[in-house]
């Protein structure tokens, strides 16, 4: 007997590993989860876990250099990125690990929903999964904050403003988030503790419970039409089926999961190598007001939702809508704990998934483009390139840029996207209507009657009316402005 084998036996005799872990690893799973193409549906959970393990390991390494102090965290991250050996890769892996975990936890949710695996007896698996989804998002959010750049500071402020909207507990909740009344010395260490100790501890506890339940109740078999779940008979039927036709989880099914998990780890490292960590967005000085805080990509859908929601629905969007989504997720296994799991009998399930995914993806794209953000950096176009003929129009072009119209409106591709492109506005609006809208505001357009002098409005309207007007007859904008002006 080799020395290694003898050492193993020494441990095994005392630890009893092959008696306990062996049968556990080889517990029987439904055949279709361990064979052919269908086996590949059952890998999202371990993929998420792999990403989580990457987060724990890279996160632990990051804490050896990160200083959770409001005054020093930013510099310590710059140090990690630029000076520490492999620090850039480490930060990149933690960033893409977070992205991977968010993506995979959502894929896992979709898989479990589509296969109806939340039904009896696996309701607790679903509920602990919902808790893990929330914890994952909370970790993503607190992680964005711990970067403690400009974005991080304003992330806390936004978090406090959200907390303040909770009924009854609003103000204390906001103070709880800030660790005081303002962003201050206590704020960051608080989130460091949440992100590094408390939430991970909760995640580990819930993952343990989640995995215990998978072994306890068995992985759900691939749904078959005409085989509804009946709590009276399901458990006995399942155990009998697995006993008769099941295959050992290790290695028949587990190899796929581990291959996917390894693929996740490799992809995280590759992305980190190629793209690096998320760039820092300026020092975390809350008194610097020229900041452009924007959330990480996985929250852009919500960022977009906040831009599109009608005014007056703030508390609804920030408190009740998330609460409603949470309640729906929690209620699902209670409302539909029995019955058909097959998609043939649940045609609405893929419809819900596709509709929800479309909404989320659409909002994410909108949030990444963020057309509502004022284009603060736009350079004025030279009036001579715009084909202006009258001095009034040239003066209008000057006023247009001097008064900041370009923050929201684009001309010839230069300027913001919040308001309509004004390159061809003369084809859509008569000058009188332009004047009215500048004066009184229109939709999201502010009213400029107290900001611009009547002469400036006349000039701007003349400018807009002559734009792209090279091939059209002389504009008559002046008259419209005159009329509107006198009527006022």
């Amino acid at each position: 007997m080799g020395i290694l084998k003898r050492v193993w036996h020494w441990f095994d005799r005392r630890g009893g590993f092959s008696e306990t872990i062996g049968p556990l690893a080889r517990h029987k799973v439904p055949p279709e989860t361990a064979e052919g193409k269908t086996g590949w549906f059952y890998v999202t959970g371990l993929g998420t876990l792999a990403a989580f393990i990457v987060q724990v390991v890279t996160g632990a390494a990051l804490t050896t250099k990160y200083i959770p102090s409001t005054a020093h965290a930013y510099d310590s991250i710059i140090f990690i990125t630029d000076e520490v050996t492999l620090g850039r890769l480490l930060r990149g892996m933690h960033y893409f690990g977070a992205s991977a975990m968010v993506v995979l936890v959502c894929l896992h949710l979709i898989r479990v929903f589509l296969t109806g695996s939340y039904k009896f007896p696996r309701e607790l698996s679903w509920l602990s999964g919902v808790a893990l989804l929330l914890l994952t998002l909370t970790m993503a959010w607190t992680g964005q904050l711990l970067r403690w750049d400009q974005n991080g500071v304003w992330t806390v402020v936004v978090g406090a403003k959200f907390a303040a909207r909770f009924p009854l507990i609003g103000e204390p909740f906001a103070n709880f988030v800030l660790g005081g009344e303002t962003v201050g010395g206590a704020t960051l260490s608080r989130f460091f503790s949440f992100h590094v100790f408390m939430f991970p501890a909760l995640i580990i506890a819930f993952v343990g419970f989640h995995l215990y339940l998978v072994v306890r109740n068995g992985i759900s078999e691939l749904p078959k039409a005409g085989q509804p779940v009946d709590p009276e008979t399901y458990t006995a039927w399942y155990h009998e089926m697995v006993e008769r036709r099941g295959r050992p989880h290790w290695p028949d099914a587990a190899w796929r999961e581990i291959v996917v998990g390894a693929g996740v780890v490799a992809a995280i490292a590759l992305l980190a190598l190629v793209f690096g960590p998320r760039e820092l967005s300026g020092p975390p000085d809350p008194s610097v007001l020229r900041a452009n805080p924007q959330p990480d990509w996985y929250f852009r859908w919500y960022y977009a939702l906040l831009a599109y929601k009608p005014r007056g629905l703030e508390t609804f969007t920030m408190v009740y809508l998330p609460a409603l989504a949470f309640l729906i997720l929690v209620a699902l296994p209670f409302v539909a704990s029995r019955g058909e799991r097959s998609l043939r009998h649940r045609p609405w399930a893929p419809v819900i998934v596709i509709a929800t995914a479309t909404v989320f993806l659409g909002l994410t794209v909108a949030g990444l483009r963020a057309p509502w953000v004022p284009a603060f950096e736009t350079q004025p176009l030279a009036p001579e390139t715009l084909g202006l003929r009258t001095d009034l129009a040239v003066e209008g072009a000057r006023v247009y840029y001097a008064e900041g119209c370009q923050y929201c409106h684009a001309i010839a591709g230069q300027g913001g996207q919040y308001g309509p492109d004004l390159t061809d506005v003369r084809k859509r609006l008569p000058p009188a209507e332009m004047t009215i809208r500048i004066h009184n505001g229109f939709g999201q357009m502010p009213a400029y009657r107290d900001i611009l002098t009547p002469e400036e409005v006349i000039a701007i309207v003349a400018f807009l009316d002559e734009l792209s007007a090279g091939d059209v007859g002389a504009g008559n904008g002046g008259g419209g402005v005159e009329r509107r002006g006198t009527r006022r």
Partner: protein, 243 residues
Amino acid sequence: MSPLNVELSLVYAVVNPRLAPLLIAAAVGAVAAAPFVLATIGRRRRARARTAPRVRIVRPAPGPAAPEEGAAREDGRDDPISPGRRRFFAAVGAAAGGLAAAIVAVPFLGVLFAPVRRREGAVWRPLGALDDFPVGETVRVEFLDPAPVQWAGFAAQGAAWLRRERGQEFVAFSAYCTHIGCPVRWMPDANLFLCPCHGGAFYQDGAVASGPPPEPLFRHTVRVRDGQVEILATPIPLPTDRG
């Protein structure tokens, strides 16, 4: 503090350091009494079960029923522990565990929730000499938080937008957008406060001009004393409509 926050009195009790020893003592007392209470309840319930008519509850058998240890030995004379004592032991174990958890929970919750008590701390902070502020110009002013800690570094600084209207009359706007709290910036060319997050815009008097913000910009109180302009530094203004 609004009357609604009374719901939090429990949290405040935990937060109040003077109450901590009292809470721990109460927990110890409750836990010490718990085994006796639990054992008594158990005895009553058994007594009731003996007199009450039997109702058969049919449940699907969860596999082969393992004989309960105590029950198997019920008539065995050699078991030195009576079922009642065994129940008492279980209650002692549960209570001791609960006690340990309660003792650790007091300082944990106390420190975790300490910041929920708003200290109502508004402090006057100097902004500069009166003559440094030209009439009609909106400028960014920096000032120290109402209650900074020593090590806060730049996090101790806050900022606002200040404009001298005329003479000694000032107006100061909080930089926190009333939508979700991003920093609005004064655009002197457009004469608007613009928010970089969702394009919210405010007129120079702080009223909403456009975009998603639900309310006008929060105003700070400003005063002039001995030729010095001072601002009342307050906690981060929170939305007024909590509906």
